[in-house]
C-alpha cells in the first residue's frame, strides 16, 4: 500500500544532496551510509585491490570509523567477551598506532550472532567514543589518551539485555547521545563529551530497542536534531537538552535505524515512512508511506533520489525517494544484516559470509561483481579517503586501488 500526503514537487524540493568527509559514526558522519568518494574498486580480494589487511584481537559487528587518517575499530574478546578493545590503525599503512583495553563492567551476555563490541564507536574529529553492549562508554583522544569512562550498567544495574544492546552512540556538539532501551531501567542519555557527566536523561519504555540515535542535520550545526526510535514513537530532540521537539507515531522498527537526506527522514516502521521536517514549525509531515518497503534488519539508504532497502534475506529493493514507487529489485546472495553503503555510483552490500555485492545504481540495478573477503561479517563498511574499510570478526581490511594506497608495512 502506498500513500502520498504531499505534492510530489514539494517532496522533490525537500531532497538535497548530502555529503561528508571522514566516517565518524555508524553509517558515516551523517548516519546516511552514503559517501562522496570516487574511484573505488568494484572487485577485490586477497590478491587484488587490498591495500592492507590486519588481524583483530576480538570479535564484533561494530563498524570501523575513520577520523583524521586513522581507522578506529572496537572488538571484544575472552571466553566471557568481557575484554573490550579499541584500536587505532594508520589508514595509509594499516600499522597499529595504539590499542586500549577495558574490562567490562556490565553484562557481557549477548546473542550468538553478536558480540559485546556490537556498537560502532563515534568521533567528533578530536575525541573517540567507544561504546559496548555492556554499556561501557569510554572517551579517548586521537592519541589513545583516556579522557573519561562510564559504566552505565554499573550505574544502573537493571539496564541490560541478554540479546545484546547494540545501539551506537551519536556525538553532536558537546554531547554524546546513547540509547539504552531495554526491559530494565530504560533511558536515553546525553553525556558531556568533556567530562563524561550526564547532561540529560530521558526515561523510555521498558522494552528492547537496538536502533541507534540518528542526526537530522540543520542549516547549521546548532540546528541539528537527534532522532530517536522506539516502539510506537519516533521523536526529534534537541541534543543539548534532550527536549522533545516533535512526535510522530508509528510502529517503528526496533533494529533498523532511520536515515535522512536533506530535510527528509526515512523511517523503517512496518514499511517505510518518508517524512519532511519543517524547522520553523518544529514538526514532521508524512510525504509518503510504502508498506512494501518493509525491510530486514539493515537500515535504509537514500542516495541520488533513490531509497534502497534490503529485504530478508538478501533482496535489494530500489524505490523512488520522492514518492516510494518501487523501481526495481535485485536478488543478492546469502543473508545480509549489514547496512549497505552507497558510493561512487554503486552500492556495496556485504553478507554474513563476507561476500561483497557491488551493484551499479541506475535505472536498473546491475550486479557488476562480487568479492569474497572474510566470513563472519555483520558490520557495515566505512568509506573514506578513496578506500572502503571492511571488518570481520578476524580482520580489518582496506580496499583501495594501488595508486591510492601506501606500501604495506
Amino acid at each position: 500500500m502506498r500513500q502520498r500526503s504531499l505534492p510530489l514537487a514539494l517532496a522533490l524540493f525537500a531532497l538535497a544532496a548530502c555529503s561528508g568527509s571522514d566516517w565518524l559514526h555508524f553509517r558515516g558522519t551523517d548516519n546516511r551510509s552514503v559517501s562522496d568518494e570516487k574511484n573505488l574498486p568494484k572487485t577485490f580480494g586477497d590478491e587484488e585491490n587490498v591495500a592492507w589487511k590486519v588481524p583483530l584481537p576480538g570479535r564484533g559487528p561494530s563498524c570501523p570509523i575513520v577520523v583524521g587518517g586513522r581507522v578506529v575499530v572496537t572488538c571484544s574478546s575472552g571466553p566471557r567477551q568481557d575484554r573490550l578493545h579499541v584500536l587505532s590503525f594508520d589508514a595509509a599503512t594499516g600499522k597499529l598506532q595504539w590499542e586500549r583495553q577495558l574490562w567490562a563492567t556490565g553484562s557481557t551476555i549477548c546473542n550468538p550472532y553478536g558480540a559485546v563490541a556490537d556498537n560502532t564507536p563515534a568521533s567528533d574529529g578530536r575525541l573517540i567514543f567507544a561504546f559496548y553492549s555492556s554499556n561501557d562508554l569510554a572517551c579517548f583522544d586521537l592519541e589513545g589518551n583516556l579522557k573519561w569512562l562510564r559504566g552505565l550498567t554499573y550505574d544502573h544495574p537493571t539496564t541490560r539485555n541478554e540479546a545484546s544492546m547494540a545501539s551506537s552512540p551519536l556525538v553532536l556538539g558537546e554531547v554524546v547521545v546513547v540509547q539504552l532501551e531495554n526491559q530494565g531501567e530504560s533511558f536515553v542519555a546525553g553525556i558531556d563529551v568533556a567530562t563524561g557527566a550526564t547532561r540529560w536523561r530521558l526515561d523510555r519504555p521498558a522494552d528492547a530497542v537496538w536502533c541507534s540515535p540518528t542526526v537530522l542535520r540543520g542549516k547549521t550545526r546548532e540546528d541539528d536534531i537527534v532522532l530517536l526510535q522506539t516502539r510506537g514513537r519516533f521523536t526529534g530532540h534537541d541534543p543539548r537538552t534532550g527536549e522533545e521537539l516533535w512526535l510522530y507515531e508509528a510502529d517503528c522498527h526496533t533494529i533498523a535505524s532511520c536515515t535522512t537526506c536533506g530535510a527528509c527522514v526515512y523511517l523503517p516502521a512496518n514499511g517505510l515512512h518518508a517524512l519532511r521536517y519543517d524547522p520553523t514549525a518544529r514538526s514532521v509531515e508524512l510525504l509518503w508511506y510504502e508498506q512494501r518497503l518493509r525491510g530486514g534488519n539493515s537500515s535504509p539508504v537514500v542516495h541520488d533520489g533513490r531509497v534502497y532497502r534490503i529485504k530478508s534475506p538478501a533482496i535489494l529493493v530500489c524505490a523512488d525517494a520522492a514518492d516510494g514507487r518501487i523501481l526495481w529489485q535485485l536478488r543478492l546472495k546469502g543473508a545480509i544484516w549489514a547496512t549497505p553503503v552507497a558510493a561512487d555510483g554503486h552500492l556495496y552490500a556485504v553478507n554474513h559470509d563476507g561476500l561483497v555485492h557491488v551493484v551499479r545504481l541506475g535505472e536498473k540495478g546491475e550486479l557488476v561483481g562480487t568479492s569474497q573477503i572474510d566470513s563472519g561479517i555483520l558490520a557495515s563498511p566505512a568509506v573514506a579517503d578513496g578506500a572502503i574499510y571492511f571488518r570481520s570478526d578476524a580482520h580489518l581490511w582496506k580496499v583501495a586501488f594501488p595508486r591510492a594506497s601506501e606500501a604495506n608495512p
Binding site: 575472552g78 589518551n145 573519561w148 550505574d155
Partner: protein, 376 residues
C-alpha cells in the same frame, strides 16, 4: 559515601604497597584514579591524574599494577589503560619492560587476579618463553584467565593421549583438568572427552547447581501483576501448607532435575501455564560463615531470597536464559540457609516466549562449586 570510605582506598594503597616502591608523586595520582565513582564521579580529576600516570617511567609498572588490588571496576579501567599506555610507548621506542619485576608480580597470588594477568600478557610479548615457564603451575590459580591457559595445556595433552594407543590413560588427565576448569567451553570439552572414555561426569555437581527443590504453584498473576505481589511462600515457607492456586489448591512438591546445568523446567513440573508464578525452595548447609556467589539464570522475571532477605531480582521476560546470567555475592551463615526463588511467567504468546525455567548455582569467585555439606 562517608569520609572514611573515601580515604580507605588510599589507606589500603599505602598499607599494601610495601614491596613496590614508586615515585612519590604517583601515589596521589593513583589515589585520584581509585576515587572514581559511579555516574561519572571523579572523572574530571582522574583525567588530569591519568595523563601524568600514563607518562610514568616503565619501571613503575609493577607499582601501578599493584593499585589494581584496591580498584573498583571503573578505577580498574583507568589504571589498566595507563599500564597499557606506558608499556606500549616503551616498546614502541625500543625500550624494555621490567621483566623480572613483572614475573615476580605474576607469581604473587596475593595480587589482584586481573593485575597478574595483565602483567603476564605484557611479559609474554617480550618473553615468549613465559607461558612455558609459568602456566603449567597455574591449574589452581585464583586468576581464572591464567588457570584457563593451564587447563588448555592439559586438555591438549589429554586429547593427544586419547588419540594414541592407550586412550584410557587420558582419563586422569581429563579429570585433573576438569577439577581445575572454570570456563564452560573447556568444561564441555572435558566432559565430552571423559564420556567418550566411558566415564561418568556429573556436570551439575561440578558447577555447583542445586538440583533438589521443593516447588509450589502455579499462582495466578493475570495482567503481569504477580512480580510485586507477595504470594504465601514469600510470607512463610511451610512445606505442609496448601494455598489457593490458579486451578485449585497447590502444595509443595519434591522435584529433582537431572539437567546437566541444573535447569528446572517449571512447565514440566507445575504445568504449562501463562500469567502465573511459581516458587522453589531449597536448604543449603554451610560448615562455616562464608561469602559465596549466587549465580542465577532464568528466561522469566525472577526474585531470589536467602534467609528471607531479597538478594537479587530481575523483572525481565524472555530475553534469553544463559548460565551465570545474574550474579550476586552474599554470606552464608554456618548451618542451615534457606533459599527461595520466585519465577514469573507472563502472557506472551510467541513461541519463543513459552519458557518458564530457572537454574541456580553457588560458587566461589573463580566459579568453582560451593556444595551444601549434605550433598552426596
Amino acid at each position: 559515601m562517608g569520609p572514611f570510605c573515601r580515604l580507605l582506598p588510599a589507606v589500603c594503597l599505602a598499607a599494601t604497597f610495601t614491596t613496590h616502591a614508586f615515585a612519590a608523586d604517583l601515589e596521589p595520582l593513583l589515589k585520584r584514579l581509585l576515587a572514581v565513582g559511579p555516574k561519572g564521579a571523579g572523572n574530571r580529576e582522574a583525567q588530569e591524574a591519568w595523563e601524568q600516570v600514563a607518562r610514568a617511567d616503565v619501571s613503575q609498572l609493577p607499582a601501578i599494577l599493584t593499585a589494581l588490588d584496591e580498584a573498583g571496576p571503573l578505577s580498574a579501567n583507568w589504571i589498566r589503560c595507563a599500564v597499557d599506555a606506558i608499556a606500549e610507548r616503551e616498546l614502541r621506542r625500543g625500550g624494555k619492560l621490567p621483566r623480572e619485576e613483572l614475573e615476580r608480580f605474576v607469581l604473587d597470588r596475593q595480587r589482584a587476579p586481573r593485575a597478574r594477568r595483565l602483567a603476564y600478557e605484557w611479559l609474554v610479548r617480550v618473553d615468549p618463553t613465559t607461558s612455558d615457564r609459568l602456566i603449567p603451575g597455574m591449574l589452581d590459580d585464583p586468576s581464572v584467565e591464567l588457570r584457563r591457559d593451564a587447563v588448555a595445556r592439559l586438555i591438549g595433552e589429554a586429547t593427544q593421549m586419547a588419540e594414541g594407543t592407550e586412550p584410557g590413560k587420558a582419563v586422569p588427565l581429563y579429570r585433573k583438568a576438569l577439577t581445575a576448569a572454570r570456563d564452560l567451553d573447556q568444561i564441555n570439552l572435558l566432559a565430552a572427552g571423559l564420556r567418550k572414555q566411558g566415564e561418568a561426569v556429573n556436570l551439575a555437581r561440578h558447577f555447583g547447581f542445586l538440583v533438589r527443590w521443593k516447588l509450589i504453584g502455579p499462582f495466578d498473576t493475570t495482567g503481569e501483576k504477580g512480580y510485586d505481589v507477595a504470594y504465601p511462600p514469600e510470607r512463610e515457607i511451610d512445606l505442609e501448607a496448601s494455598y489457593p492456586g490458579k486451578h485449585g489448591q497447590v502444595q509443595w512438591i519434591d522435584y529433582e532435575t537431572d539437567h546437566d546445568f541444573g535447569r528446572v523446567d517449571l512447565n514440566k513440573a507445575l504445568g504449562e501455564e501463562k500469567d502465573v508464578v511459581g516458587y522453589a525452595t531449597a536448604e543449603f548447609f554451610s560448615d562455616r560463615e562464608q561469602e559465596v556467589e549466587f549465580r542465577l539464570a532464568s528466561d522469566d522475571a525472577v526474585k531470589l531470597w536467602l534467609g528471607g532477605t531479597l538478594i537479587d531480582e530481575h523483572n525481565v521476560y524472555h530475553a534469553g536464559m544463559y548460565m551465570d546470567q545474574y550474579a550476586s555475592r552474599t554470606k552464608l551463615k554456618p548451618g542451615r540457609n534457606v533459599i527461595l526463588i520466585k519465577v514469573c511467567q507472563n502472557e506472551q504468546t510467541q513461541n519463543w516466549a513459552q519458557g518458564w525455567n530457572f537454574q541456580l548455582r553457588l560458587c566461589d569467585s573463580t566459579g568453582g562449586a560451593v556444595l551444601s555439606s549434605d550433598r552426596e
